[in-house]
Amino acid sequence: MSQELDSLYQEIILDHYKNPLNKGLREPFEAEVHHVNPTCGDEVTLRVHLAGGVVDDVSYDSMGCSISQASASVLTDLVIGKPVDEAMQIHATFQELMQGRGNVEPDEDVLEDGIAFAGVAKFPARVKCALLSWMAFKDATAQTLAAADNKESTNG
């Protein structure tokens, strides 16, 4: 039983949980979103700042379990500084891993520390925890891009 548990609570996850990266809300940002996991109440407020097609900053404030906290930390570590397209690609890869019920082989080149979440995919109730901040990131990025589009088309 402890073995099963260890596959969920990888050392990497517990490390990110204890020492989360990039935590706190920062300026500047184009979009701020607030996402909730309705069943358990976990919450994240997340801001995205894009500049020149690159994810310049992702800042967040969150309350929740080890999985959701660690996952926000890993997210920011992975996407900050990446071109938006690549960040969205990483998002897709992570989501695929999480929803794969443990049958998807994690790609360390893309996901780095994120591969530690492979074990979470086997716990359906925890998948939502791992995805909370990722969904918020996707939402905020989409809002930022849509707003930029709007501006352009109004200007054009």
Partner: protein, 418 residues
């Protein structure tokens, strides 16, 4: 006889109640399936297994039983979505029965703001052959909102009178709600054509498929419906569960119905926000073991094949119509061409009240329904107060139809009619 299910005797063995002996040692001849269907062993066993091994609340519970129960419950949603070809599982809302599904729509429309809002001058169109569950909600809605309820009339042979469709469904029409298959007359209505007209004027189309889903392959995307309701207990599933399917675009616009449980996003003293579909409309602990049973039921029907079931019903209905035609003084209400109808056949017999017909049949083990079948306006249209209804299903045999016809002859002699 052409069209009968090839393995009818095997299918009958799946339904334990069909072995029942009634008073006086009479075998059961169950011809009341439009009222409720019987349940195959696999549905019962699946429910028992869930209760004995996997019972837990769903969504909220993270432990192993909770995960098993949630998975079984949500799998049932997938199965139902596939069964009616819904574009996404999120559009499948579990209710307690078809009546709740229809009321959910009428009730949330009463509180809707924006394009779906209904008020004075607006019209809702239903038909004279509706079940009360598709009448009363619209009466309550139109009364409460000062809107007007209008009705499709019926032709003498029990079909919808479509001659005035263009003056009935107009720019004022906000909702057209109709039954796909009548539970009294058996009539199959041209839902798609009516939906086309309704959509021309921007009305939404609600389809009561309570009698359609049990009897024929239903494809909600091809149907023309925007919202569609049916009930578990008529598709060999348990009571306590019904289904509302709706296009996401419409469901998203409707305000919440019942509040509490998993229908929320967050609750605060100042104000609450609501979950997305389907959960937004599923307040409180859902019918879990009932959904699991319904999943097994649609699996069962899918395995037999809905086209095969439709062919079987058609063959039995044609055979029954022929048999009933031999009974003196008997008049069938509704189409007498089996290809225009489903398997519920209502009739009257000169000189014997439907109650008395049903009673005599019951003494011979033949179970039919007598009364208004929750379709009073349709009975009134045909100048009768009540009728007797025989309704078949996938387990019905020609021999059972013979027992019905013999029973009716006996009824006539018992009441000393010519």
């Amino acid at each position: 006889m052409d069209g009968l299910l090839p393995e009818l005797e095997v299918i009958r063995k799946d339904f334990p109640i069909l072995e029942r002996e009634l008073a006086g040692g009479m075998p059961l001849v169950y011809l009341d399936s439009a009222n409720t269907s019987q349940k195959p062993q696999v549905v019962i066993d699946t429910m028992v297994d869930h209760l004995e091994r996997h019972n837990a609340n769903v969504a909220r519970a993270m432990h192993q039983l909770g995960a098993e129960s949630s998975e079984a419950f949500e799998n049932a949603r997938d199965k139902v979505a596939a069964f009616i070809n819904a574009p996404t599982r999120d559009e499948i809302i579990f209710t307690k029965n078809a009546s709740e599904a229809l009321n959910l729509v009428a009730n949330t429309l009463a509180w809707a703001r924006g394009p779906l809002e209904i008020g004075e001058g607006d019209e809702v169109v239903i038909t004279e052959m509706e079940h009360h569950s598709n009448i009363v909600p619209w009466q309550l809605l139109t009364e409460r909102k000062g809107a007007t309820l209008r009705w499709f009339g019926l032709t003498d042979d029990g079909q919808l009178d479509l001659s005035n469709i263009d003056s009935l469904i107009t720019e004022k029409t906000k909702v057209v709600s109709l039954t796909w298959v009548s539970n009294m007359l058996g009539t199959i209505n041209p839902v798609e054509a009516i939906a086309r007209r309704a959509h021309e004027v921007g009305a939404i189309v609600v389809v009561d498929a309570s009698q359609a889903v049990p009897q024929m392959a239903v494809d909600v995307q091809a149907s023309g419906a925007d919202l569609l309701a049916f009930t578990g207990h008529k598709v060999v599933g348990p009571t306590g569960i019904g289904v509302l399917w709706g296009r996401r675009e419409i469901l998203d616009q409707l305000p919440p119905f019942l509040g509490g449980g998993e229908m929320i996003e967050t609750v605060a003293m100042e104000r609450s926000t609501y979950a997305g579909i389907p959960h937004k409309f599923e307040a409180g602990t859902p019918p879990i073991v009932e959904a699991v049973g319904l999943g097994a039921a649609v699996d069962y029907l899918g395995h037999v094949g809905m086209d095969a079931i439709r062919a079987h019903e058609h063959a039995i209905t044609a055979y029954a119509l022929d048999g009933l035609a031999t009974v003196p003084g008997l008049t069938v209400l509704g189409p007498i061409d089996a290809s225009l109808r489903g398997g519920a056949i209502s009739f009257e017999i000169d000189g014997v009240h439907p109650h008395d017909v049903a009673q005599v049949l019951d003494s011979r083990g033949v179970a039919v329904r007598a009364g208004h079948h929750c379709a009073k306006p349709a009975h009134k249209r045909f100048g009768v107060q009540a009728s007797t209804r025989a309704s078949s299903y996938l387990y019905t045999t020609p021999a059972e139809i013979d027992a019905l016809v013999e029973g009716l002859e006996y009824t006539r002699s018992y009441f000393k009619l010519g």
